[in-house]
Symmetry: C2
Subunit: 354 residues, 2 copies
């Protein structure tokens, strides 16, 4: 269905009519100039992200439902990174005329799947048109206990540096998608040059080679915000001293923590958690797997520091790895390789403005 047929209010109504607020803090959701939230003695957290077609996502790789899921998760992840609980979401999207109502429905289906997973209410947003491509801007609001919000600036000398899950897989997933896309276009080009109609016909059923690499795709297309790690930390009675989520790559994120906490760090290459598929793919692509883990980005894992006194507890925690420790500022931000060489960390994280 053409979007213009429904009109703005028709479309919003169509997309949101069965969204029912579930949080006590959501007093009024969609349908007025503002949503109304009500936080008693909790602190309110707000985060926002903008995703532009062609810059942040490529619709030849990601379908609308995964895109919605990912867009929501990325913001939910930022609330978790403050040790908060996500509660409400505002969704602004702009679409060119080539999008159908069904496309946006799929996008919303993905959004809602992510929101339902973490009990987040969609309370409003703007749906409008764009001359070119799709733009997504999401704001997520959450709450935190006054004394339990974790900033980036609380890391102290001797604190342990920990990371959840594994690193570099989302980046390898993107490499995989790009490789298969270029294989496809190369074959199409060659068939065209040979004027080979049969080959061109067969290419319309082109199947990319993803076998054995499903985890990489899942990490790229369906990232999960790590609220479960916060629950574990709470259960172990551990309060991180600093925390951030890994969107631009481990290097970039640990540098944020060190700069804001005015300290240095030592990260040990041998301790970096890397999945088998990530290692295999890096090998295939002739890439250094440590570089992928350090600078890949889009992992949406939690990077946090805990007091050295929590060593025994954190060592036993499933799906969390101690990868280094905080040092005095003058010792710099260092990566210690397997052969005990020291390299200064550089943020080679993805630069959306480059």
């Amino acid at each position: 269905m053409e979007i213009a047929k429904l009109g703005e209010f028709g479309l919003i109504n169509h997309l949101t009519k069965d969204i029912k607020p579930e949080n006590e803090t959501t007093k009024y959701g969609i349908g007025d100039d503002c949503a109304v939230l009500n936080y008693g003695d909790k602190e309110t957290l707000v985060t926002s992200d903008m995703l532009m077609e062609g810059v942040h996502f490529d619709r030849t790789y990601i379908d609308m439902q995964h895109l919605g899921y990912k867009a929501a998760m990325v913001n939910i992840s930022d609330i978790f990174a403050m040790n908060g609980t996500p509660k409400q979401m505002i969704v602004n999207i702009a679409l060119s005329k080539s999008f159908t109502v069904e496309d946006i429905e799929m996008f919303y289906a993905g959004l809602r799947m992510a929101c339902e997973k973490w009990k987040v209410d969609i309370v409003g947003g703007d749906t409008t048109s764009s001359y070119t491509g799709m733009a997504i801007s999401i704001t997520c609001i959450g709450e935190g206990e006054k004394d339990n919000i974790v900033y980036r600036n609380g890391a102290k000398d001797t604190d342990l540096i920990c990371v959840s899950g594994d690193l570099g897989a989302a980046y390898m997933g993107l490499q995989l998608l790009e490789r298969e896309k270029s294989v496809y276009y190369q074959q199409v080009d060659e068939a065209r040059k040979r004027n080979d109609r049969k080959a061109l016909e067969e290419l319309s059923h082109f199947q990319p080679e993803f076998a054995g690499k499903e985890y990489l795709l899942q990490r790229q297309l369906k990232p999960e915000a790590r609220g479960d790690i916060l629950d574990k930390l709470k259960a172990f009675n551990i309060r991180p001293t600093a925390m951030i989520d890994i969107s631009d790559g481990l290097s970039s994120e640990i540098m944020h923590i060190c700069k804001q906490s005015e300290c240095g760090c030592r990260i040990y290459e041998k301790n970096l958690p890397i999945d088998y598929q990530t290692a295999v793919m890096a090998e295939e692509m002739n890439m250094n797997v440590t570089t992928c883990a350090m600078n890949g980005g889009e992992d949406y894992e939690l990077l946090f520091t805990v007091p050295i006194g929590d060593y025994a507890k954190i060592e036993d925690m499933e799906d969390v790895r101690i990868i280094g420790h905080i040092t005095k500022k003058e010792l710099g931000m260092m990566l210690i390789t397997r052969d005990n060489s020291e390299f200064e960390l550089k943020a080679q994280g993805w630069n959306p403005l480059a």
Copy 2:
């Protein structure tokens, strides 16, 4: 300066380094995964808008500073429309590579001018790139007293319908800008056809005809959110029963109030507040001035209903006009013309998806 030179964090730092939070409710602003707000026993309001180049604004008409000012005011206006006080703002922008750092600085200068006017703290946001044109997404957060938030759904039969300021001028301002642009291009076209180099040289200093129409331009390029009206209502001890701000046009907005309040209305053409310049411009353009006032949009005036008992107080209020009254639902939503004909209202407001 090229934006890529600064990089994302450099740019954000450059733009926000001297932004100091002034609101007590702003616990932590820019620099972490989230801003941290703290609302005690007040209610929290959140609103968000997305503005796309080519759809919502044309940079041949509006400079970056006015664009920033307007983008902020539009969101501030939505908080006022709930009888709330704007407190924080989150600003997401995406820009193509043709923009310079100076462009964004001007945009921020406009944003900050609007925010300073209403003591709003800029607490975060995303700055990223776009393949084509500029996208702006702003979220404004505010607070309201629990019992004083005004929704769209509280209008009752016999309530008076009031509007602040005047209507249709912002729309006429846009018509004026479009007319002068087409005059310019027409003259360039003709000079090119004649191969008249002298005329083309003179056209590079083309001066649009804005004399005597400054108010229309101001209304289009520098709209003002009407927080002052809320102060007046408070001073007169009037609590609106329903309220909305006029972004899409009076017709569209009163219909929102009527639908959500399950009532009808009668709007009197003779009571519509219209500025002299609006009337002159409509005459020049051969347009019906009432249509402009009813459907023009972008006025950002407040449309609200008050109990009939407040008649004497509201009648005396400067810059507020009683334009009609609420009726039972079955009487419909009607415009009463000067010759006492009745027409059913239609929302011909601007459709960003058409």
